[in-house]
Symmetry: none
Subunit: 239 residues, 2 copies
DNA sequence: CTTAAATTTAAGAAAATCTTAAGAAATTTA
DNA sequence: TAAATTTCTTAAGATTTTCTTAAATTTAAG
């Protein structure tokens, strides 16, 4: 599988038996800076997703040979990437059918190109998190010893006991757990979690660290998980 | 009852008073590898399903002698297999009637053969799970504790007591129940339920959440089912 | 022992959610 | 078609939770 895509572009696969539609969609997506792959039936689609690093799929559900709904199911068996269904039908029952089968969104033809792009971005935003370079959502738990972070339910447990962290606290724990053993200066934690330049923000980070410890450590004064490295920063050990 | 069908093929019963339609459908289904039984009115249909191991029924609701809707009701009393209604009528009232009476899907004539096949496959996929050898479906309900959503009748009950939700409210509950434990940001709820990009829509979602809680929670201020995760979104617990 | 770094605490500020209500929109009924 | 009903959206204020700030305290390294 080629994981190297030109200039770091995200790859999108467009599947429809109508070549004109595929081309039209491709132009809009390429304009937005995506690399577009094209397929004209379900089998071609399956071929491409097994040989290329596709991040998102746009697929028509009414296609010859392997119909779209079946293809969606097969794709889901292989990869966990966002799937947006294209369809001429607009009835509610179809919407529900598509979504319950494992698609993430549903667009009816004729569609507004800008809306389509908006939905593509929305889906990619949802699936592509920083630490998740492959775009494939793996088993969604991060661990270090008894500390466990379930990314789907956004639940943190210590030795199986659920612990209630705030959103910011969770982001800090997530960052440290995604790079176990690595030491992060408070300044870097701030910049990565708050997504803005750190200016006199160390204290803020420290107070958060304190509160996280209060929740996940048995004795916050002798932390077992969230450790300090004097003069450098904080880390959670690789276990 | 013969449970042995040739070469392990799945048996489908097609019921319509128009023989041409029955034959046309049969060809498409046989092409897809199904064993097809034919009936030209409701009584014949009932005969066949009691003597053969039918996995799915396609039935017209406008038929002489025993009309289709009545047949559907009687079939449901006997067997719990997927039923797809065929009809020349496309009015909404019929759709609702057909589905509420226990049918699983609805196709209006004239129909696209590929679409019909797709729906047949979709229904079989939904009902024939590995552990479910008899072709009798699993209870089609989503649950979390005392909260229960019956997908067939689209009815919600709390501790057995029926609760009257609006269509939108039901879609929200369905989404959360289909992914128990997972936290959905208000924005994502909007996009998945309304099927359009969320723009300043969080408030709308919140008000709906509030009204759902009013209906399903004993004390809406301390929700037992529909919980908030501060800074992230809403969820219904996996129980 | 001194100093810089890290911890702890508490209170006010900020942000997110909740609640309510009124009017708009959609649906049903007459 | 109009009236009545139900459902949805919008907005604004109340409430709750979370975040930031700052100052006092403790800890580790040299």
């Amino acid at each position: 599988m080629d994981n190297l895509n030109e200039a770091g572009k995200l790859s999108i696969l467009v599947v429809d038996d109508d070549k004109e539609i595929v081309n039209a969609i491709s132009i809009y997506l390429e304009n937005e800076g995506y690399r577009v792959y094209k397929a004209y039936d379900g089998f071609q689609a399956l071929d491409i997703i097994t040989s290329h690093d596709i991040k998102l799929i746009l697929i028509d559900i009414m296609m010859p040979r392997l119909d779209g709904l079946s293809a969606v199911v097969k794709i889901r068996e292989q990869k966990n990437i966002p799937i947006i269904i294209l369809s001429a039908k607009s009835e509610d029952s179809d919407k529900i059918l598509g979504l319950s089968i494992g698609a993430d969104d549903y667009v009816t033809k004729p569609f507004n190109p800008m809306e389509l792009v908006a939905r593509v971005k929305s889906q990619l935003r949802r699936y592509l998190t920083l630490g998740d370079v492959n775009g494939t959502r793996k088993a969604n738990v991060l661990k270090s010893g008894g500390l466990c972070f379930d990314l789907d339910s956004r639940t943190v447990t210590v030795d199986g006991e659920p612990v209630k962290l705030t959103a910011t606290e969770m982001k800090i724990v997530e960052l440290l757990l995604r790079h176990p053993g690595r030491v992060f200066p408070a300044e870097e934690i701030y910049e990565r979690v708050w997504q803005e330049p750190a200016y006199n923000a160390e204290n803020t980070v420290m107070v958060h660290i304190r509160r996280i410890r209060e929740k996940i450590e048995i004795n916050p004064r002798e932390p077992k998980y969230l450790k300090v490295v004097w003069g450098i920063g904080y880390k959670i050990e690789k276990i």
